[in-house]
């Protein structure tokens, strides 16, 4: 029922959720845009890996930065062609979100078209592949064979999270990012170059999500829908953090991952729920959070409470 497999899965999936969800929270904090292109970062990050491995680049040390750069470039491009002009015109958050929806659709099918073309060039099936560096040996721990990728992923994740932490807490760029996140108007008045800070944030977030997508694909699989398949979980994770707290986003990653793996295997064993119903757990989690502890402040919500207040008359 709950064996080492579930625990290991919880750990690595949790870590990857964290790497993907943290930038979602961060980019929302800084830009107040719910960015659907986040989905594309994941897919594109994964496929940068796939293509590089196909081209014979066999080192994660090269593939991961490439993935990061690609995601970052797209994120910054989006900012300059779409979000920045729209914001200058005073578009409201809903319009910005719809713009990101348009971009999402566009990039999604750019990937499809590219793969369609790539299939003809590489003569392999690109629509579902597992990007793997062959140079990493497997490790055997207590009778369980763990792939070298497991440790590589944990290492990469650790490095990324460490760098993110140091960047945000110790550097002047990080302080500027946090200042813009807390109060954009005040930050601008006090001389922080908001435009530049926002672009840096986008680059950081796009890159991180792309690396997260690559790591995910290394473990699971890369398909053109890999990002779409993760959106619900990632969003639920970010909502646990109230779209505001990076710490709680990190904790949320393990809550959702734990629910998906440990709770799912329990449900499977006890009630016989098919494993393909896994997303329903995240969905219920999302609804539950919205009902019980809605991110009212950050999500731009209504000061409306469902609870019934009964007061006595005097």
């Amino acid at each position: 029922m709950i064996g080492p497999t579930e625990v290991l899965n919880t750990i690595w999936i949790g870590i990857i959720y964290m790497i993907i969800a943290l930038p979602l929270t961060l980019s929302y904090k800084v830009t107040r845009i719910i960015n659907f292109v986040h989905i594309n970062f994941i897919t594109i990050g994964a496929y940068v890996g796939v293509i590089l491995f196909l081209l014979g680049v066999n080192s994660l040390l090269l593939v991961i930065p490439a993935s990061f750069l690609f995601g970052a470039a797209i994120a910054v491009l989006n900012h300059f062609i779409a979000f920045s002009p729209l914001e200058k015109r005073g578009a409201n958050p809903v319009i910005l979100m719809i713009a990101s929806l348009g971009l999402w659709i566009f990039y999604k099918y750019v990937v499809y078209a590219f793969l369609d073309l790539g299939q003809k060039v590489f003569r392999t099936n690109l629509f579902s592949v597992i990007p793997r560096a062959t140079s990493l040996p497997d490790v055997s721990v207590g009778g369980y064979v763990l792939s070298g990728h497991f440790f590589a992923a944990i290492l990469v994740a650790g490095v990324i999270l460490g760098v993110l932490y140091l960047l945000l807490s110790k550097t002047s760029v990080g302080r500027a990012i946090r200042a813009v996140a807390d109060n954009p108007t005040l930050a601008e008045i006090s001389g922080i170059p908001k435009e530049r800070v926002v672009s840096i944030t986008w680059a950081l977030c796009g890159g991180m999500a792309a690396v997260g997508g690559l790591l995910w694909a290394v473990f699971a699989i890369a398909t053109p829908e890999v990002g779409d398949a993760l959106i619900l979980q990632i969003f639920a994770v970010s909502v646990i953090g109230g779209l505001e707290s990076l710490l709680w986003t990190g904790i949320g990653a393990f809550i959702i991952s734990g629910a998906e793996n440990i709770l799912m295997s329990l449900l499977n064993a006890v009630l016989g729920v098919p494993v393909s119903f896994r997303p329903f757990i995240s969905f219920s989690a999302l609804l539950l959070i919205i009902l019980v502890k809605p991110p009212l402040g950050a999500g731009g919500g209504l000061p409306y409470r469902f609870k019934i207040v009964r007061h006595y008359k005097r």
Partner: protein, 347 residues
């Protein structure tokens, strides 16, 4: 291309246009008038189609005393046989399905949206988007409605008309009539005090709440109506195609509708009509063109979707009002004021 069937093309386009126009007007009620981003339109479209398919197939088998699973081959054969026996049955089930679907899909929409209505606009979007996808996953595993294969052989409401061309033509007309009714309904709602509330919610929901209006209830009511209408569009689709399966209802359908509304003009029902007319027309044409180039390097489908995405973005960037900008509410109030100030002058 010599044998290009112009009338057949027109009929299929008009049917598709009518169905999508209902969807876009329902989305327009949400995003255009009330400012609710519904990224899961397809869920209610799908529920409507499935309801119609299930109810119709079940009733026909039941009335004719045939006992077999709805999705079995025997059922499809039996349905084909008894489809044209009793015109009254066909028509009355059609009407009944529309009514039932409106209420059930509306109620589902109300329930699913209510918890998300007080949090920011993204939550409704994500929740409904996921809801649609989960529903699709569920239907793929749900054997009583045929799993991935879905249901087929759904008796057409006009199956008793022998000439298929005439039948499709009349059906297209029915779809257009339903579309027209939807249009009138939306216009009535939009130009009433309730429509005014919808716009105030869009402009500033917090201020609306502070003016004593029950904003979550207003939004949920709009969502009920819009989901119900999407359900009706689903019913029309199910009868037109005669079959349903889970993979007809992918999120891409929602995007299509979004492109229509944004391109046509948010907050304007005529815009939604024009948007859906243009996009469904291009769709039909490209369907014909696709048949001409089966060996394209990149599937024209992908190109088409890229264009849909770009269309949304470019419209927002360069012509945010779309083809038809929003018009002011036609209200009675102004006449009252005109009388008032007119009376002043006389006195």
């Amino acid at each position: 291309m010599l044998g290009f069937d112009v009338i057949g093309f027109l009929i299929s386009w008009l049917t598709l246009f009518g169905t999508y126009a209902i969807l876009s007007m329902s989305l327009n009620l949400e995003i255009g008038f009330t400012g609710m981003a519904d990224f899961g339109k397809v869920a209610f479209y799908g529920i409507g189609a499935y309801l119609a398919a299930t109810i119709t197939a079940f009733t026909f088998l039941f009335v004719n005393g045939i006992k077999c699973p709805l999705h079995s081959v025997e059922a499809i054969v039996a349905l084909k046989e008894c489809a044209s026996k009793n015109p009254a049955l066909n028509v009355s089930i059609f009407v009944l399905c529309i009514l039932i679907t409106f209420i059930i899909t509306g109620a589902i929409g109300y329930l699913i949206s209510y918890p998300t209505l007080r949090v920011g606009p993204a939550f409704l979007g994500i929740t409904v988007l996921s809801f649609g996808e989960l529903l699709r996953i569920f239907m793929r595993h749900f054997e009583p409605t045929g799993g991935t294969k879905g249901l087929a052989g759904i008796p057409h409401p006009l199956a008793w008309i022998p000439d298929p061309r005439l039948r499709d033509g009349i059906y297209a007309a029915i779809v257009l009539v339903v579309m027209l009714l939807t249009y009138l309904l939306s216009e009535k709602i939009a130009n009433s005090p309730f429509g005014r509330l919808m716009r105030t919610v869009r402009d500033d929901e917090i201020a609306t709440l502070c003016l004593g209006k029950h904003v979550p209830r207003i939004k949920a009511a709009v969502f009920f109506l819009a989901s119900g209408l999407a359900g009706i569009a689903g019913v029309l689709l199910a009868y037109y195609l005669g079959s349903v399966n889970p993979d007809m209802f992918v999120p891409a359908v929602t995007f299509n509708v979004w492109a229509m509304v944004i391109f046509g003009g948010m907050g304007n029902n005529k815009g939604a009509l024009i948007g859906s007319a243009i996009i469904t027309f291009v769709d039909r044409i490209s369907f014909v063109v696709n048949l001409l180039f089966p060996q394209a390097i990149i599937s024209p489908d992908y190109i088409r979707w890229m264009i849909v995405g770009l269309l949304i973005l470019i419209t927002l960037l360069f012509k945010p009002q779309g083809l038809m900008p929003e018009t002011p509410i036609k209200t009675l109030a102004l006449t009252a004021v005109a009388e008032e100030s007119g009376g002043e002058e006389n006195a």
